[in-house]
Amino acid sequence: MNAVLAFIKLSLLEARRDRLYLGLVAFAFLFVALALLLGMSPWGHIEEVMLHLGFAGVSVFTLIYAVFMNVNNLHRDLQSRVLYTVFSRPVQRWHYLLGRFIGTALNVIILALVLSFIIILSTWYFGYSGNIRWEALALGYRAAIQALVSGAFALVFATFMSTGISIILAFMMHFICANVSIFNLLIKSSKYPGWTKVLFKIIYYVVPDFRYMNIIDPVIHQRVINWELLGTSSIVYICYIIVLLIMAFAVFQTREL
């Protein structure tokens, strides 16, 4: 466990030192600030629009951050061959991957948390109701955990594919997860031949459904939030993450460094 901890610390430290990662964070702040400014334009419903746009920004940037970091950390360590040094020590390969993944997850969660606070406080400051909308933290949480599922997909791809392809495939998986219901329509449609339907069915049943954590509208429009749904979908996502990590460990174990 020492080793896992060491890689968690390493990932946290590198996130603060690496110019690429810092650049991404700066972009995220800029984007969210712009979204908030746009939300403040005099269209009415300032609070709703600010929350909507702001958290859309959080979703996009936690996703980019998680996918990019999971792929880049591994590929950079492989390319620079620092992993030769690492694995010449009594360290299991899965220790390394797990530590890196958890470290990245913490970075993603911190980013989501900070951005959420900024959005919530600006909404309170510029809004009309005078309420601090703490329940909107759930949206930041939603963005982070979904980004982590996609980040885990990215890590699996990165264990055996090139940087570019891993990143593209991970974004594709995110898109599929966010629109799984399309596949249900495709299955029902009669236009497609039988074998594609089998494929659609597999995707429909195997891939995690991001729509399931359906809390955006209730949070933003201050309706009743189904906390139980938030809990069960979290458990489902965490199970997916665990399965994906085990797949990544298995592939990474056999690959040439």
């Binding site: 610390k9 590198e14 030192r17 690496d18 620092v82 030769y84 040094t85 010449s88 020590r89 040439e256």
Partner: protein, 287 residues
């Protein structure tokens, strides 16, 4: 200390298979500096990777002391300096050492002390708190060597420790290797620089296209094959001068030099030294 028997290793790259090691056997004795010598692509790095469990091999056996190379304990008595120093460039030298110390399950106090000691040993006391990405190549090499020595290993494995270093860096590395030998460590180093073998190695193996084609003692080979030596003098009036001399005439020459007040700069084996031996053996195998 290290026994390698019949190791075969194939790399797959696409559909092609590259046979990098074709049955390599050799023994490194306790306390010696052993040179793994061979041209580019000979399989030196591959052999070292097999030894450290960084890659799987199809056939053969590697023992470190009494242990199989894959046992965790084997990894706790070895230290490894990879080809072209490899540590985390976004960390400082000290942070790198602390990171790798925690991979060795060293406790916080001990690792802090050991880190300070090693930074001093490799001459990076001042630079220890700068980011490694600001280091020169020689500093990189030295911080990586410090990493390899964290666990005070019995066996130190160096992959091309002198490559890319300037003359001063090279001298420093040679000094460090000699110091490690004095501390009783067993050292396996790969290189394709022959003078480095002459400078530090006790014995060496010549590896070519995945096979060991010669194994022997450095002194022995020089004694058997060197036909003459090249002695460099510094003379008061006329500067540097090279003299070729047979072994049996060497002392006579030195006496003469002392009488004249010359200074000896270097004595190296000339024709028939390792360099030529390698050339001959490799050419023989090419045919």
């Amino acid at each position: 200390m290290i026994t390698i028997t019949g190791v075969r290793k194939k790399y797959r790259s696409g559909r092609k298979k590259i046979e990098a090691l074709k049955g390599v056997s050799l023994t490194v004795k306790k306390g010696e500096v052993f040179g793994l010598v061979g041209p580019n692509g000979a399989g030196k790095t591959t052999l070292i990777k097999c030894l450290l469990g960084l890659t799987e091999f199809e056939k053969g056996k590697i023992q470190i002391g009494e242990l199989d190379h894959k046992e965790t304990r084997a990894k706790t008595i070895t230290g490894y300096l990879p080809e072209e120093a490899r540590v985390y460039t976004n960390l400082t030298g000290r942070e790198n050492l602390l990171l790798f110390a925690s991979l060795l399950k060293m406790d916080a106090n001990k690792s802090r002390k050991r880190t300070a000691e090693l930074l001093e040993f490799v001459g990076l006391k001042e630079a220890g708190d700068s980011l490694v990405r600001t280091y020169s190549k020689g500093m990189m090499q030295r911080i990586s060597l410090a990493q390899a020595l964290l666990n005070d290993p019995e066996i130190v494995i160096l992959d091309e420790p002198m490559s890319g270093l300037d003359p001063l860096g090279r001298i420093m590395m040679i000094d460090l290797i000699k110091k490690m030998k004095q501390e009783g460590k067993t050292i396996l180093m790969s290189t394709h620089i022959i003078p480095d073998v002459e400078a530090v190695c006790d014995r060496f193996a010549l590896i070519h296209k995945g096979k060991v084609i010669f194994e022997g003692g450095v002194a022995e080979v020089i004694k058997r094959h060197a036909e003459h030596y090249v002695v460099k003098f510094l003379k008061e009036d006329s500067g540097l001068e090279e003299v070729n001399v047979k072994a049996e005439e060497m002392w006579e020459l030195f006496e003469e030099g002392r009488a004249e007040g010359w200074k000896v700069i270097s004595v190296l084996p000339g024709r028939g030294g390792l360099q030529e031996l390698f050339k001959n053996i490799i050419e023989e195998h090419e045919q």
